[in-house]
């Protein structure tokens, strides 16, 4: 297996899918200012997906471009975590999904910015700045909704209860990352989950939210086994490229 390709693909697919989900909000946000804010975040993710998938294509060495990877794979070949493909449902679910993901992405990029692989490091360094703002934005909203009204508290608690089972997969590790760490391409991920957990504990406490007790966790995304939702995302995402193969747009 080409671990550099696989690893970069995972990062790229995470950005691609969560960017896609956020972009679905454009024009439908709860207030104009927030519509603009979510679109900014979506744009950051589309940008990250573009650089990461380009790089993955380069690592693969088979001449596939970032667009080829984004638009022309089958579902089993997408390697994003299940969390990022979960539907928006409402603003609370969207913000909770974002928060749980941002809290993982920040310590991840903090490590990757020092990767000896310079290309990964460069993308991580740029993305880290974006991620810090994303985390600030999503944390503030989780706190507002958790400690806002009774209705918002109930809704965001439910969002947390439903999304919690997808968070374990954020720390999924297999031969791909082990090999890259051993080869010194990327730094060790020791303490990543602990840092994530600390951010999550702090923010959820301030939001007066309770972490679900169930520790049952789903995974599969990293291996290409997805939820039903991915198929629908791909139906839209790939429509043009599949209907009119091989054209310039």
């Amino acid at each position: 297996m080409n671990s550099l390709f696989e690893y970069t693909l995972r990062l790229g697919d995470d950005s691609l899918m969560i960017g896609h989900r956020l972009s679905e909000w454009c024009g439908h946000g709860p207030i104009l200012e927030e519509d603009i804010a979510m679109t900014n975040i979506a744009l950051d993710f589309v940008g990250q997906a573009t650089s990461l998938l380009e790089l993955a294509g380069k690592f693969e060495g088979k001449g596939r471009s970032g667009d080829d990877l984004a638009f022309l794979r089958f579902d089993r070949d997408y390697k994003n975590v299940l969390l990022v493909e979960q539907p928006n449902v409402d603003f609370g679910v969207t913000m909770m999904r974002q928060f749980l993901f941002d809290a993982y992405r920040k310590p991840l990029f903090e490590r990757l910015q020092y990767a000896s692989n310079k290309e990964i490091a460069a993308i991580a360094e740029k993305s880290l700045k974006e991620t810090k703002y994303h985390l600030r934005h999503s944390s503030e909203w989780v706190i507002r909704l958790g400690d806002g009204t009774e209705e918002s508290h109930t809704r965001i608690q439910e969002a947390l209860d439903n999304l919690w089972r997808y968070t374990g997969e954020l720390f999924y590790s297999d031969d791909v990352d082990k090999e890259l760490i051993a080869a010194g391409e990327i730094p060790s991920m020791d303490g990543l989950e602990k840092e994530w957990r600390q951010t999550v504990n702090e923010v959820l406490a301030e939001a007066t939210l309770k972490i679900p007790e169930s520790d049952w966790q789903f995974d599969g995304g990293r291996k290409g086994m997805h939820s039903e939702h991915l198929g629908y995302i791909l139906t839209e995402l790939q429509y043009m490229q599949r209907a009119y193969p091989g054209l310039e747009w």
Binding site: I31, L32, E33, E34, I36, A37, N40, Y133, R136, H137, E140, R144, T149
Partner: protein, 95 residues
């Protein structure tokens, strides 16, 4: 619970180090953190700024336009406050 909007904020942006914050517009936000975030997202999308001030619009006090003559016109006649009021010989280049 009121169905009413979030308060209105006035946004001031410093475009680069060394320049004043300048009024650029307004927006709605529930609190000051959100006002800063929203100002960043609405008014600095094209690298227009490096620093933001937000002020609740209700905290801005404005002079009354109908008093403009007594407030501002008296200074128009004090032309001795401007350097061009003074004659300096042509030989002197920098003063």
């Amino acid at each position: 619970m009121s169905n009413k909007e979030w308060p209105l904020w006035e946004v001031f942006i410093r475009s680069k180090q060394g320049l004043n914050h300048k009024h650029v517009g307004s927006l709605r936000a529930a609190d000051e953190e959100m006002a800063i975030d929203n100002a960043r997202d609405v008014y600095t999308r094209r690298s227009e700024g490096i620093s933001i001030w937000v002020v609740l619009s209700s905290n801005v006090f404005a002079s009354d336009p109908s008093e403009a003559p007594e407030l501002y016109e008296p200074s128009d006649s004090k032309i001795y406050r401007h350097p061009t009021f003074y004659d300096v010989p042509d030989e002197i280049q920098h003063m």
